[in-house]
Symmetry: C2
Subunit: 310 residues, 2 copies
């Protein structure tokens, strides 16, 4: 008997600078209700889903930077989302910038959580692969300042047994790195959920722009197949505060096939019934790691950060 987890990829259109968190949450609740009406067990929202994606701007003022972060989750503004999820009996995944007080200091992470059908936060992940640059680039049409505003995540890539499956998380740029998937694959992950904010234009390499959607799917499809896991990737899409972002939210099977895909750059729900056992035949054959991996040959992957030309 298939072990179905029905998932909704809840793409968000742009959130403009002046839009409040409460307004964004209202949009998310609307998508959550659609998801419930479509039989979803889990609804997946984008990275940093509550505001415009502020790492695209240089901000000097510490208080202004902090204003984009969440010090508590749920917060006053997100409490209605948790309440609605609990009322509907639906799980969700939410990305948000996190202000933490740890090791005696203020720390900032790009964070995501999984909330189960009872409204409990069952898993938290902090983004590991921060893209972009820490310095101001005033000549660029927009910034990519995640290396300025966030610390590298310090929670690894755990997986969680929840909603009948073994779930993991990554965030945006993590999806381009096969290591992210593999660490979860080595824990038997069955579904990876992730959100992204991906501009159509890449200021340091504009020649890549025409390939944004292709690369987005390629890396998630390969990660899904090579680890025999579902992957659910969800965009904040469209023209937001002057930066145009790809959509292309999609749900990818452990076969590597895209089984559902958004066709707008606005708020849009796409749904798939995901059999969590679908990956088993891969995990037991081609990708039986215990039989076929050769980690004694992989040392360089951890011993070396950058490429070294001999």
């Amino acid at each position: 008997m298939p072990r179905i987890l029905t998932v909704g990829a809840a793409q968000l259109g742009p959130i403009q600078r002046e839009e409040s968190r409460s307004s964004a949450v209202a949009r998310m609740i609307e998508l959550m209700r659609q998801a419930k009406a479509n039989g979803c067990d889990l609804v997946v929202y984008p990275e940093a889903a509550l505001t415009a994606f502020f790492p695209h701007w240089w901000i000097d003022d510490e208080a202004e930077i902090d204003s984009y972060f969440e010090s508590a989750m749920p917060s006053n503004e997100t409490a209605p989302l948790f309440a609605e999820a609990e009322r509907l009996g639906i799980g969700f995944h939410l990305g948000y910038p996190e202000l933490a007080f740890e090791d005696g200091r203020k720390r900032r992470f790009n964070t995501a959580i999984i909330v189960d059908k009872a409204g409990r936060i069952v898993g938290k992940y902090r983004k590991i692969h921060l893209p972009g640059h820490p310095e101001h680039r005033p000549d660029a049409v927009f910034q990519n300042l995640e290396k300025r505003y966030f610390e590298t995540g310090n929670l690894g890539w755990p997986v969680w047994e929840t909603m009948g499956g073994r779930l993991g998380m990554m965030i945006c740029n993590d999806r381009r790195w096969p290591e992210s998937y593999r660490v979860m694959g080595l824990q038997g992950v069955e579904m990876i959920v992730l959100g992204y904010n991906t501009p159509k234009h890449n200021p340091p390499a504009p020649a890549h722009d025409r390939l944004g959607n292709f690369h987005n799917q390629l890396v998630m499809q390969a990660g899904a197949y090579q680890n025999a896991t579902w992957v659910v990737g969800v965009a904040k899409a469209g023209l937001e505060a002057g930066v145009d972002q790809i959509g292309g939210s999609c749900i990818i099977a452990p076969t590597g096939e895209v089984v559902a895909q958004a066709v707008t750059e606005d708020d849009e729900l796409v749904v798939a019934r995901c059999d969590l056992d679908l990956g088993n035949s891969y995990k037991n054959s081609t990708f039986n790691f215990a039989k076929h991996r050769e980690p004694q040959c992989y040392g360089m992957i951890v011993e070396r950060k950058g490429a070294v030309i001999a």
Copy 2:
């Protein structure tokens, strides 16, 4: 000015059991001449290109097993290939089963070499990811006995400066594992060449059969993009000794795009002019490993072979 290496993917149709090495070499020489006529610097042949792919059969007799291996390279039968390459001034990549005498004993590897335009063997690789099973499966329609006939490769994944580029090799099943590409990516590889023998039918998981060509391209496209390298994958294709194999030989750019692709399951040459500098903009931006990789989080990849469910 672009740094062009023109490469020919020299797909081979089936080599039947009774076909001699000399006959196979004659076919390869014909493809080599086509490659030269098309301006190629390098021609890439499949895995185990000199005979039918014997790991599909159970063989008891040691001498019969050995008869599929090469004790010398060049050998009497392959010498004409080396001679023609030197005469034409063209490099080549060739896969062959290798009988080695090392550490005081006979050893068998699934091996490949790169030969430069002067006819010198400049690099040797021994396949690391051996697929299949060591035991006889008499009920299967064919065997996949690489784990019986070969030892795991013991030369790692070096890269070589040759023919104006930084080249690396993998073989067949290696291409499904992102670790294979990454180890070479961490050495700044610019072109990975590989051959494969991939049956259309997967006896332990027939539900995967419909996806053979898709998976073949997916893994090579992702490996190319994620490491900003050219990938040249070359099949032995078609119905060989009762086993039908996929074709789909292709040349993939560092963008992840397929730029040339075979359309038959027979002897067929496809050519691409490969700018070895094309990957630089990726190596310097999205995939600037020194800036963006986080190896302190990748430990599990080398510490663990099989998946562990907590």
